[in-house]
Symmetry: C2
Amino acid sequence: MNENQAGAATTVRWLEPHEQRAWRAYLDMNAQLSARLNREMQEESGLSTADFSVLVQLSEHVDARMRVLELARALGWEKSRLSHQLTRMQQRGLIERSNCSEDRRGAFIVLTAGGRDAVEGAAPRHVESVRRYLFDELTPDQVDALGAIARAVTDRLGAGCAGIADVCADTADPCD
Amino acid sequence: MNENQAGAATTVRWLEPHEQRAWRAYLDMNAQLSARLNREMQEESGLSTADFSVLVQLSEHVDARMRVLELARALGWEKSRLSHQLTRMQQRGLIERSNCSEDRRGAFIVLTAGGRDAVEGAAPRHVESVRRYLFDELTPDQVDALGAIARAVTDRLGAGCAGIADVCADTADPCD
DNA sequence: TACATTTTGTTGACGGCTCAACAAGATACA
DNA sequence: TGTATCTTGTTGAGCCGTCAACAAAATGTA
């Protein structure tokens, strides 16, 4: 965009050139890095990164079984996104839905043996990719800086309450 | 995932705890920031961030008209993604396709008056959002660090050739 | 008990992205 | 000229994500 905007333009604090460059570089990094990681995981392990995230959460959990909303909160996903995702993963034998005796509305999501094999096969390759494209290119200071930046931003955004009011505690929006 | 993997696990360089934290923080930042910016632009201006990116490219270009592949290269998108996107944008009157006399296969993509109004209306609000959620939370050093990190990673990834071989010069893959 | 409200989770419609296939014009070259 | 190849761009199938609507069970309250 150029800076000769009509209307309220005079009051807009446009990005400074170095901010503009940082912002576009960040957008590029994101787009390229996520595309690359997704494609490599798909080719090497037959999983999407979304599949992988779900499997990792389950495999890290005691008994490898979780309630749907528990999983949604852990992932920061909307429940309907997760439900669709679980349907697809169930069809491929990565997870199973089992009834919950304490709450008959509910379902437990259970990691299958195939799901465990898939995540354990994908994890080492994925770590290698993340190292290759990200950490190997950064100095230790840059790694720490990235972490600090990301935490500052997610703190501002409400640490998971943006757009997933669905699965967040119904407190007042702490974001403004 | 835990680190007691079967098989080749002994040779895998798992992420160190501080790398793990930085990585997950980065993933969270991305997911939340892009979701928030997308939602705000949709609510305030009726555009997706994809619409906005296309409109910005066009509006920055002399005559506000570009060939499809030129646009695809500028955005780092696959041509088919762009083609679908343009079809939707054309239906909403944001852009028009016009014939190219020099190359009768080709099409010029032209920004309409409505498209220009849309991008000029959206830009100030979008800048405010980007400031609010990102730059206002970062120190000047962090802004520079973010830019440097992003450039290091995109350089490693081949600066736009990842997954869009479609629209890239057909050089050998410089990524491995 | 009866009834409203909240919580849990699924579904369908629709926009968006990727991939492979395709059409048609441009280009190279014999 | 003829023809093989490359380039430009679109299309359709299918997966993915969001939104709104819904069903059913749990919970609160009279």
